[in-house]
Each structure stands twice: as structure tokens, then as C-alpha cells.
């Protein structure tokens, strides 16, 4: 017994010391030992991400953390151009739309191939969209207006819509518009249309393909041998590093090139690291407060009360306290960066005196409101406390209610709150992606109108703006709607968050597109 224990102990000791020695003696001999030595190869990009991801089937997932894998491994008919929300050709080299806006015809560029060698033709595009629609999960909802898809010839595909939907082109550039190889059906099990297989495999025509996925540890992309694009990075590793301090250390030691999970309160320290730069751009993420205008406290049905709440907030101080200044005060619901944003739209300013007058005019006294939030966003607790203190200044008592995220969503959907914190980023680069969701009374609850706000004039104008093909007329319509809703004040618009990404100075070519938050233009990047 004693002998065995001694042998075991000696073995353990030997393994540990040898491991250490090996590491110390040959810190950069091979990439195998780069764990402690850093300096990944020039042809490899290493990105630290805070958590593992769920399914990567483009017809299933609505979780944008998985888009960073899907987007570079697939292609779409059209793409966002550089850092803008403008549309440029993708798989389709050109397209036309009928006068009534219901028929869209795309001409495909030849020579695109899936990683399995199959040609990307009109039939593949048709089958990919049909698969999404048949699976009937989140992405199908985005294309609910598509009534028919036809492959007219190998390079022409036509979409027939049930109604005019001008943002259609924009939706095709999103993650939901990724084209899946028709061979996916070979992996169908129990009629799941390959959902099980595609949950952890890729079958696209993008410059990369999924090479390996060590669950909970790392995800590795390698080149699609059939792609015409020849990226500088031959492989990309997404390393799951849950702790932000560890991410920081690894960035400092050069073990990772990009660290995604560092919260704003640690950004200042990261800035001082040599060889690390900070990408800082305005994002399209709006942080705001839903005021429940019909199902919450009855006082909130009064416009003046809602305006008073808007004027009670000390916006600049809140941005400093919550986002340490890494945000911009919002002007109007359409964020800066999406067309339709209007600098002349009313913006509420901190004015305690006037807010109190408004409450007086509304005849409201001793107002007590519940503010609902969840642990989903790390900054929400500070934000809730700041709002509580701001509203106390105008004599409104706020009771903070923090619940689990799933419960939070359920309560929002049912309208079971007075005030609630929320974030929104549009799915596609069109004011429709904000306006028609937030203010249309047919979208009550999680669907988007989380203030349960109803104004029939707004409903009518929104419908008009959604079915008009002239961008100029639509801009004017959305301006008109913004003026009304800012006065009606069903939300308190707080700020537009900055996108902050610490990365090694060696990494070149990264372009941040606010529509593709968290997605890298890997094929254009190098180091």
C-alpha cells in the first residue's frame, strides 16, 4: 500500500515538473506550447469569447453570439457595404424589383461553391430559404412575407412577396439570409431537415468552414477550399474564456489577439496595455426604458406623466455612471447610423422643475412605480439605481424589481410592469427595424411594442411607411412619426451604447459594421 502511494506520488510529481520544465525550456518551440508563451502564428487569429454558443444553424438561431461563426462560413445574396448599412452585391451580382415591390429577381454570380464542392445556384438558394420557412423557427418569422420562391434558371431566383416590404433587401444581408448547401438534407434525421447536424457543423460557401468545436473550450475555423476568397488568416480560433480578468491577462501576453468579454469598468486598464488598441465606435444598440402606457400604473396613461419621467433623468450623469462615458445620448428612436435618423427630432433634457410642473398639471401625487430589470445586462443594476434616484428628485418613488431573465421576458410580454429596462438593436439597416416594432399596436409585448402604446394615427403612418417604395417619402413619413411619438413619450430613450473592442495592435483590417455587431470581416483581416 505504502509503495503504491509512493509510486503514485512520484508519478504525479514527475508529470508536473516535466510539464513545467518543458514549458520553461521551450516556450515558443511549437504552437503546442503557446498556452503560456503567447504569440500565435501570423496566419492564425485567436479571439477570446466569454461563453460557448448554442446551435449554429442559420435557420434556427436568433442568438447573435453564434453569428460570428455563421457569417464568415456562409454567403448571402447581398451584403452590408463596409462600415455602412448600404447594401452591396453578394452571391447576387444584380437584382430588380417590380413596381408594386412584390417581386424581387436576383441574378447570381457564377463560380461560388459550398465547402462540399457543390455550386451555389438558384436551386440551392431556393431550397435554403424554403428550409428556413419550413423549420418555422425565429428566422422564418423575418421572412413571413415571402409567399413563393422560384429558380427560373441556374442563375436567376425570384422571390414573390405577399405584400410590399421595402426593407426586404436589407433582411437578406442579415444572418437569416445565409445560404445553406442543399446537401444538408442528406443529414436529415426524423424529419428535422438537418437541424441536429447543422447545430454544430457548417455547410456554407463562405471563405471559412468549421473545423472543430471543443465544447466549452474552443471553436476553430479553417479555409473553405472552394472559396474564391483567399484570406490572410488560414485559421481562426474562438477561445472560450469566461473570466474577464483572465481575458485581459491573455491579451496582455499575446495569447489572444482580440478579447471580447471585457466590461467597461476594466477598459481603462486595458487601454494602458502596450500593444493593445481599443476599437471604439458608436453602435446601434439603444438602451431605454419601457413605460407601460396601457397595462401599468394608470397614471402612466397620461402623456404629461410620461414626459415628466423623461425630463427627470439626468442623461449625462447616467451615461457617466453606467457606461463610464462610453455612450451617446439618444436623439429620436432611429439611432445615428441608420438612415431616417433625424437630428431635429425632440430630445428630452434634464429639467427637474419643469418635470414637477408637468406632474402637477397631470394631477398626480405620491406616484409609486415598479421598475423591472434582470441580471441579463451587467450594467442594469447601476442604471436602475440611478433612475430610482433621478425620479425621487421629482417625487416619484421607484421600487426596484430584479428577476431572472426568462421571467423578465415573460413579464414584459404580458405587460406585467410599470417601467422596465430594455435594449434594442435593429435587425436590418432600415428605420422599419425600430419604428414598426416599437410603436405599431399590432406588436404589443416582446414582439417590439413593449410600452403597449397605441396611437391610431401612428399605426396608419407606420403602415404607409412600411409599404412605400420611395426612400424619400419614407424618410418624411418616419420623421412625422418620430415627432408624434417623441411627444407621446412611451419610452425614455437613454443612450446609444459604444462598441468597444480591445485588440492587439498587430491585427489589421478590422471594419466594424454596426449592423453586424460581434461579427468579424475575417477575410479582410490580417496581422
Amino acid at each position: 500500500m505504502r509503495k503504491i502511494s509512493l509510486i503514485l506520488l512520484a508519478l504525479c510529481f514527475m508529470m508536473i515538473t516535466t510539464a513545467c520544465k518543458q514549458n520553461a525550456n521551450a516556450p515558443s518551440k511549437t504552437t503546442a506550447s503557446n498556452a503560456a508563451s503567447g504569440n500565435a502564428a501570423k496566419s492564425e487569429l485567436v479571439v477570446a469569447i466569454p461563453a460557448d454558443i448554442g446551435t449554429i444553424d442559420p435557420a434556427v438561431t436568433m442568438d447573435n453570439s453564434s453569428w460570428k461563426i455563421i457569417y464568415p462560413t456562409y454567403e448571402r445574396l447581398v451584403d452590408y457595404d463596409g462600415a455602412t448599412t448600404k447594401i452591396k452585391p453578394g452571391l447576387a451580382k444584380k437584382w430588380t424589383v417590380s413596381k408594386d415591390g412584390k417581386t424581387w429577381t436576383f441574378t447570381l454570380e457564377k463560380g461560388h461553391k459550398f465547402a462540399d464542392g457543390t455550386e451555389v445556384d438558384a436551386k440551392a438558394v431556393k431550397e435554403s430559404f424554403e428550409r428556413t420557412l419550413k423549420i418555422k423557427k425565429g428566422p422564418a418569422g423575418i421572412f413571413s412575407m415571402v409567399s413563393k420562391i422560384t429558380a427560373d434558371n441556374p442563375t436567376t431566383v425570384t422571390f414573390t412577396l405577399s405584400e410590399n416590404f421595402p426593407p426586404f433587401l436589407s433582411t437578406l444581408a442579415t444572418n437569416y439570409g445565409n445560404i445553406v448547401s442543399p446537401k444538408v438534407m442528406e443529414y436529415e434525421k426524423n424529419g428535422d431537415m438537418g437541424q441536429n447536424y447543422l447545430a454544430n457543423h457548417t455547410m456554407g460557401s463562405g471563405p471559412y468552414q468549421l473545423e472543430s468545436w471543443k465544447k466549452g473550450d474552443s471553436i476553430k475555423l479553417s479555409l473553405n477550399p472552394y472559396s474564391k476568397v483567399k484570406p490572410a488568416f488560414k485559421s481562426v480560433v474562438f477561445k472560450i474564456v469566461g473570466d474577464s480578468s483572465v481575458q485581459r491577462l491573455q491579451l496582455e501576453k499575446g495569447e489572444v489577439d482580440i478579447a471580447e468579454g471585457i466590461p467597461v469598468d476594466q477598459i481603462k486598464d486595458v487601454k494602458s496595455i502596450r500593444n493593445v488598441r481599443l476599437v471604439q465606435k458608436p453602435s446601434l444598440v439603444t438602451d431605454y426604458v419601457y413605460i407601460n402606457t396601457s397595462k401599468g400604473n394608470a397614471a402612466l396613461q397620461n402623456k404629461k406623466v410620461r414626459q415628466a419621467l423623461n425630463e427627470a433623468i439626468d442623461y449625462d450623469a447616467l451615461i457617466d455612471a453606467v457606461q463610464l462615458g462610453y455612450a451617446t445620448k439618444t436623439r429620436g428612436p432611429v439611432p445615428e447610423g441608420v438612415w431616417g435618423h433625424d437630428n431635429s427630432v425632440k430630445q428630452y433634457k434634464h429639467n427637474v422643475k419643469h418635470a414637477k410642473t408637468l406632474l402637477k398639471e397631470a394631477g398626480v401625487k405620491n406616484l409609486s412605480l415598479d421598475l423591472l430589470y434582470s441580471d441579463n445586462k451587467t450594467w442594469w443594476k447601476t442604471e436602475a439605481l440611478t433612475i430610482q434616484s433621478n425620479l425621487a428628485d421629482i417625487g416619484v418613488k421607484v421600487n426596484l424589481k430584479s428577476v431572472a431573465y426568462a421571467t423578465f421576458r415573460d413579464m414584459i410580454d404580458k405587460g406585467d410592469f410599470d417601467l422596465a429596462l430594455g435594449v434594442w438593436s435593429p435587425d436590418f439597416g432600415d428605420p422599419y427595424g425600430i419604428m414598426n416594432y416599437w410603436y405599431d399596436s399590432k406588436n404589443f409585448g416582446l414582439a417590439g411594442n413593449r410600452a403597449f402604446y397605441k396611437n391610431s394615427k401612428v399605426d396608419r403612418l407606420l403602415k404607409e411607411a412600411a409599404t412605400n417604395n420611395s426612400k424619400q417619402e419614407r424618410t418624411a413619413l418616419y420623421k412625422q412619426i418620430q415627432d408624434i411619438v417623441m411627444d407621446d413619450a412611451p419610452y425614455i430613450l437613454l443612450y446609444q451604447k459604444d462598441y468597444i473592442l480591445p485588440m492587439s495592435k498587430d491585427v489589421k483590417g478590422f471594419v466594424y459594421n454596426p449592423m453586424l455587431d460581434g461579427i468579424y470581416n475575417l477575410a479582410d483581416m490580417s496581422k
Binding site: 503557446n34 425565429g138 422564418a140 465544447k215 473550450d217 477561445k239
Partner: protein, 334 residues
């Protein structure tokens, strides 16, 4: 002995049934809708409804439960809502990592804890005793997220001896899957590169995870040893000329270990369930993070699978503890 084992295993079926019933009801009555989580931020009511139907969530609760049990009886844990993989596959991917970490931490805790407890009892109120006390108090009271970061800062940040994250180096393939334990698998396949890499990776998280257990074991062994050492049979043994290692190990420690085994048994259970923080700090791809994510996503099949696995684990550990009692003390064997 065989009778006990069979009886306990029979009992296991009832435990699993009870656990499934309670956790199924609990996980389904809390407010929140997995279909809405899956449908995305702004899905329409129609999309949510369609997903609800696909997942069978539109059925009455008892029908959902009956379906689940029917599936379970055939060994099918269902498909995870979040990862879209069979739950059993997910559990089998993550569980060995957690178990390997727990076993390593456990080994460290026992290898250091028992001798330290014995020394501290034998050298009561000396430097060694005080040292062991301070060591234990620190072990219990320092939170893992803090000790984890300190250890990473020193051994990864400054010294560069050990990696800070993961189970094996990025560019090394895991050893051929036999048990799912990287160390054991690489020993079995003779893959020395994978062996060194996995030992290097497991060392820090296992060390940190072992702190709390180590402290408990040390204190327990010390207390039991002190009690045993003052008993008459030890005095008799000493009077008969037995002393030194024989006295301590065969006479005293053997008896002192009986209460310690209980503590060790339950602490192993808590190692399995409580490794979440350690796994997060060290990016260890185990069950902890997976389950937390599943709960946040209301991934019912995954939550149920995990609960069943852990309850089976607890029952088996208790069984092993009871059997060990018998080995240590023939009186209990009956």
C-alpha cells in the same frame, strides 16, 4: 454486502423517479417560456406559438411529463433546446471534464488533508498545528473566484508555468476518447504530449478547487484523531509497546477515518455540483457553465438530464461511503 448493493440500486430507481417529478414540475412552473427564448428578442406571437408546438409545450403538463418518462425509460434524455444536440451527448461531453477536475481536486485534498490533520493532532498547539489551522480557515473562507485569480496571476501571469484556460492546448488534439478523462485517456493511449498538456491544464483549477475540501478534511481528521488518541485502547496499545507509525496508522487513523469518510463523501458530491465558479474562472469546459447557461435559457431537457445525473451520483457516492464504513469497521458490516 451484495444484498446491500442490490437494495441500494433498487432504491436508486425511486430516487430518480422522485427527482424527475420534482424537477420537472419546478422547472415548468417558474415563469418564462423556452419557446420565446428560442424565437429571439422580437419574435411574433405566431412564431413563438409554432415553436411551442414543435417542442410539445402546448400540451398539458402531465402529458409532457408522461412523454418525458417514456423517453427516459428508453435511455433518451431528449434534445436540448439551446444546443439542438441530444442531451445525453452534451452531458457525456461535459461530465467527464467536471468529474476529472473533481477527482483531481479530491486527490489533492486527501493527499494533503489527511497527513496535515494527523500531524496537527499529534503536534497539538505547536507551530504545525497553528499552521494547519490558519491554512484551513483560509481554505474555507477565501472565495474561489478570488483564489483562482490570484493563482492565475502568479502561475500564469508572472511565472508563466501553467496555462490559465481550458483543458488542453489549442493545437493539441485531445487523446482518443475512451473514458473522457484526458489524463487517463492519454495514459491509456501513450500520448505523452496530450498527457503533459492536460496535467498542466488541470493543476491550477484542481488546486484551487481542493482548498475548501482540504480545509474541511484537515479539521475533521485532527478532531477525530485527538478523540481517538485519548481513548483507552490506544493507551493499552502503547502500554503493550506499540508505538510509532504502526500505532498512528493502524490503530488510531483507521478509527479516526470513519467520521472523516462521511465528510469526504459529501464533499465529493459538492465538488461535482459546486465547480461552477472554478470552471468559469479557469475556462474549464465542464458541466457547471453548461448547466448555468441551460437554466438561463430554460432548456428543460438539459436541466432535467443534469439533475438526474447528479442525483444518481449522490446516491452512488453514499453507497460507496457506506461500503467503506464496512471495510474500516467490521462491526458495521452486518
Amino acid at each position: 454486502m451484495q444484498k446491500i448493493i442490490l437494495k441500494r440500486l433498487g432504491f436508486l430507481v425511486f430516487v430518480v423517479f422522485g427527482v424527475t417529478l420534482i424537477s420537472f414540475i419546478l422547472s415548468h412552473v417558474i415563469p418564462g417560456d423556452p419557446a420565446s427564448m428560442m424565437a429571439g428578442q422580437r419574435a411574433s406571437k405566431e412564431t413563438v406559438q409554432s415553436i411551442r408546438e414543435q417542442l410539445g409545450l402546448d400540451q398539458p403538463l402531465w402529458i409532457q411529463y408522461a412523454d418525458y418518462i417514456r423517453q427516459l425509460a428508453t435511455g433518451d434524455f431528449g434534445i436540448s433546446i439551446r444546443t439542438h444536440q441530444p442531451v445525453l451527448d452534451d452531458l457525456l461531453t461535459y461530465f467527464p471534464a467536471t468529474l476529472e477536475l473533481a477527482v483531481a481536486a479530491f486527490a489533492i485534498a486527501i493527499l494533503i488533508g489527511i497527513p496535515l490533520g494527523v500531524i496537527s493532532a499529534l503536534k497539538k498547539n505547536t507551530f504545525w498545528d497553528h499552521f494547519s489551522r490558519i491554512f484551513s480557515i483560509s481554505g474555507v473562507s477565501i472565495p474561489v473566484f478570488w483564489s483562482g485569480l490570484v493563482v492565475i496571476l502568479i502561475f500564469y501571469g508572472y511565472l508563466g508555468w501553467f496555462p490559465a484556460n481550458g483543458r488542453i492546448d489549442d493545437n493539441i488534439n485531445p487523446p482518443t476518447h475512451t473514458t473522457g478523462f484526458y489524463i487517463l485517456d492519454s495514459l491509456l493511449t501513450g500520448d505523452t504530449i496530450a498527457l503533459f498538456s492536460s496535467v498542466k491544464h488541470i493543476f491550477l483549477p484542481a488546486l484551487v478547487l481542493s482548498f475548501a475540501q482540504l480545509a474541511i478534511i484537515t479539521r475533521q481528521v485532527r478532531a477525530s484523531m485527538l478523540e481517538v488518541m485519548s481513548q483507552e485502547y490506544i493507551r493499552t496499545a502503547v502500554a503493550n509497546g506499540i508505538h510509532g507509525r504502526l500505532l498512528i496508522i493502524s490503530y488510531a487513523l483507521r478509527n479516526a477515518l470513519i467520521p472523516t469518510i462521511t465528510v469526504i463523501g459529501t464533499s465529493f458530491g459538492s465538488l461535482l455540483g459546486g465547480a461552477v465558479v472554478t470552471e468559469t474562472v479557469f475556462g474549464w469546459p465542464g458541466m457547471g457553465k453548461f448547466v448555468v447557461d441551460s437554466i438561463a435559457y430554460l432548456d428543460f431537457p438539459a436541466i432535467m438530464g443534469f439533475t438526474i445525473l447528479i442525483s444518481i451520483g449522490y446516491v452512488l457516492i453514499n453507497l460507496i461511503v457506506d461500503l467503506l464504513y464496512g471495510l474500516l469497521n467490521p462491526q458495521i458490516r452486518e
